[in-house]
């Protein structure tokens, strides 16, 4: 079953093109990477899927149901979680409150939230230690960990995550990537945006490469890793063939 499917999606910011004619899908339980240079349109794709911006053209469906005009918070309640660029944790709330809000859309009962909290804190013991601290007092990397942990609180069906390795030390990157693999193994579908191509291809089964707002290359990670066109896309060289 396709957890997520984009069909010919175009997004514009006023007159500026974000992405144009993007089609892609993610199967249930799969990890798919979305790659591309700065400004290629990766974050735009995630924002369109989570409903923060509305495509001018094309359709997005979630487990076969078209999203169309479903508002962004309802998509979260439906099981889609988006960890955006730049962490966006609530700095004036405590770490515990941030985590609790992560479960706001899906874990409505107090006991559900408490149980989920236990599971997430087991993955990130660092956070338990600072539970009552204001999130704004965490270091940048710790805030990134909190952003990811907060997303995990909702126990999503589909997790979209924008550059999770950004600003993390190698050990935290390992933890985060192990966790992504683990949640995928438990059935969560993952759409991963990542600048660290090698890392992304290691855990993703497939990947799409965006260049200037369009998909220029896609395929299984193993074959893409060997493909010279991948680095061409990053260097801005014209790439024609869809892999």
């Amino acid at each position: 079953m396709k957890a997520l499917e984009l069909n010919d999606v175009s997004v514009f910011y006023g007159a500026v093109r974000g992405v144009e004619g993007v089609s892609l899908y993610v199967d249930e339980g799969e990890i798919v990477a979305l790659l591309g240079a700065n400004g290629a349109g990766k974050s735009t794709v995630l924002k369109a899927v989570s409903g923060l911006i509305h495509p001018r053209h094309g359709t997005i469906s979630f487990f076969g149901e078209p999203f169309a005009k479903l508002s962004a918070h309802r998509r979260v309640i439906g099981g889609l979680v988006h960890v955006p660029e730049g962490r966006r944790i609530f700095t004036t709330l405590t770490i515990g409150e941030n985590l609790e809000l992560g479960a706001y859309g899906t874990q409505r009962s107090r006991t559900e939230r408490a149980q989920r909290l236990g599971e997430v804190l087991a993955l990130f013991p660092l956070l338990e230690q600072h539970f009552e601290r204001l999130a704004g007092t965490l270091s940048g990397g710790e805030q990134q960990v909190l952003a990811i942990a907060r997303a995990m609180m909702s126990n999503p069906r589909v997790l979209m995550i924008d550059e999770p390795s950004l600003g993390l030390d190698p050990q935290k990157v390992d933890i985060v990537y192990d966790m992504l693999e683990e949640v995928a193994a438990l059935g969560t579908t993952v759409l991963l945006v990542e600048q660290n191509v090698a890392l992304a291809l290691e855990i993703a089964s497939r990947a799409y490469v965006l260049q200037q707002g369009s998909v220029v290359l896609s395929g299984r990670s193993a074959s893409l890793a060997q493909d010279s066109r991948l680095s061409d896309a990053y260097l801005g060289k014209a790439t024609h063939d869809h892999g």
Binding site: S50, L52, A72, H73, V76, I77, V81, H82, V83, P84, R88, I89, F90, T91, T92, L93, E97, E100, L101, G102, Y104, G105, T106, L134, R150, S154
Partner: protein, 302 residues
């Protein structure tokens, strides 16, 4: 010295009103960064609505049962909350993408509409209306001052309402959602929070508190006027800024401080100096602490 204590007693009483109205300013500011200049007029409209309802239910009996006032008060809180929510829905929400300055102009416009609406309404109008219920004079002495039981109850109710809001915002999941929306609306949406609903609830609570304050004002002072929202609005706004606008505790503390300062000031200079004293206090405070009293303790900022 005992004169001074009397002024403090009066000030706390006055501050209870300021605090309740200030909470509405502060909460809306916290969540939208909007100074809702129409807020004082929600309070004024509530006074008139309660005047009419009380007039209808207690024909010719000015010593109404306390529970009649209580349930009318509750109904008026709901109506005023609904009015504030409606104003948000019809005016502020469609303007959400506009500059905040445009929203403030709209708020001033709404304030004018409400004042003039009450002015031209058939049963209401420009004159001072005598409120149908008053508090009996019996009470207790403290220092050389006499306080009525009504005054005590008003302070207690205000305190309870403020505590309720403090608990709601500080402890409940909804309150956490309010603070989340206040800090980062997009991140809040991504948590599955219905931001528009949360904003509507904030307006409702602010309006309801103003409604409660209005009924208590009517009962205590015994008269209402279509301009009463303007003065109280200014004073409550001053209280909110004094305490650190956007901050729940700040609104209450600001209200109390303003009440006490105003009491002492008018005790010395005379009642006609009330507004001057209020703004004098505000200017002094902002001089020393531009963020207001609790403005930097962001933990409870919404």
């Amino acid at each position: 010295m005992s004169l001074f204590l009397n002024e403090i007693g009066n000030g706390i009483f006055l501050g209870a009103f300021f605090g309740l109205v200030a909470l509405g300013y502060s909460m809306v500011y916290g969540i939208l960064r909007l100074i809702n200049f129409a807020h004082g007029d929600f309070y004024m409209v509530a006074a008139f609505v309660s005047y009419t309802i009380l007039g209808a239910v207690i024909v010719g009996n000015s010593h109404a049962q306390w529970w009649t006032v209580a349930w009318v008060g509750l109904v008026v809180m709901i109506i005023t909350g609904g009015l504030a929510m409606l104003a948000n829905q019809l005016i502020y929400r469609p303007m959400r993408r506009a500059a905040i300055l445009s929203l403030m102009i709209a708020a001033i416009g709404l304030s004018q509409v409400l004042e003039n609406g009450v002015l031209v309404a058939p049963q209401w109008g420009a004159t001072y209306l005598v409120y149908p219920v008053t508090t009996p004079p019996s009470g207790f002495n403290l220092g050389s001052n006499h306080y009525t039981w009504g005054q005590l109850i008003i302070v207690l109710i205000s305190g309870l309402l403020a505590l309720g809001v403090y608990f709601l915002v500080g402890r409940t999941l909804l309150g956490k959602a309010m603070r989340a929306v206040s800090e980062d609306r997009i991140a809040a949406v991504l948590m599955g929070i219905n931001v528009d609903l949360v904003i509507a609830i904030v307006f409702f609570i602010g309006g309801a508190l103003a409604g409660a304050a209005a009924v208590m004002t009517g009962v205590y002072y015994g008269q209402i006027n279509y301009l009463m929202g303007f003065t109280v609005g200014l004073e409550a706004f001053t209280a909110a800024v004094l305490g650190g606008i956007g901050n729940i505790g700040g609104a209450v503390v600001g209200g109390l401080i303003l009440g006490i300062v105003q009491s002492i000031g008018t005790g010395i200079f005379g009642a006609e100096w009330a507004i001057v004293v209020a703004f004098g206090a505000l200017v002094l405070m902002l001089w020393f602490r531009p963020t207001g009293l609790l403005g930097e303790r962001v933990a409870r900022r919404m």
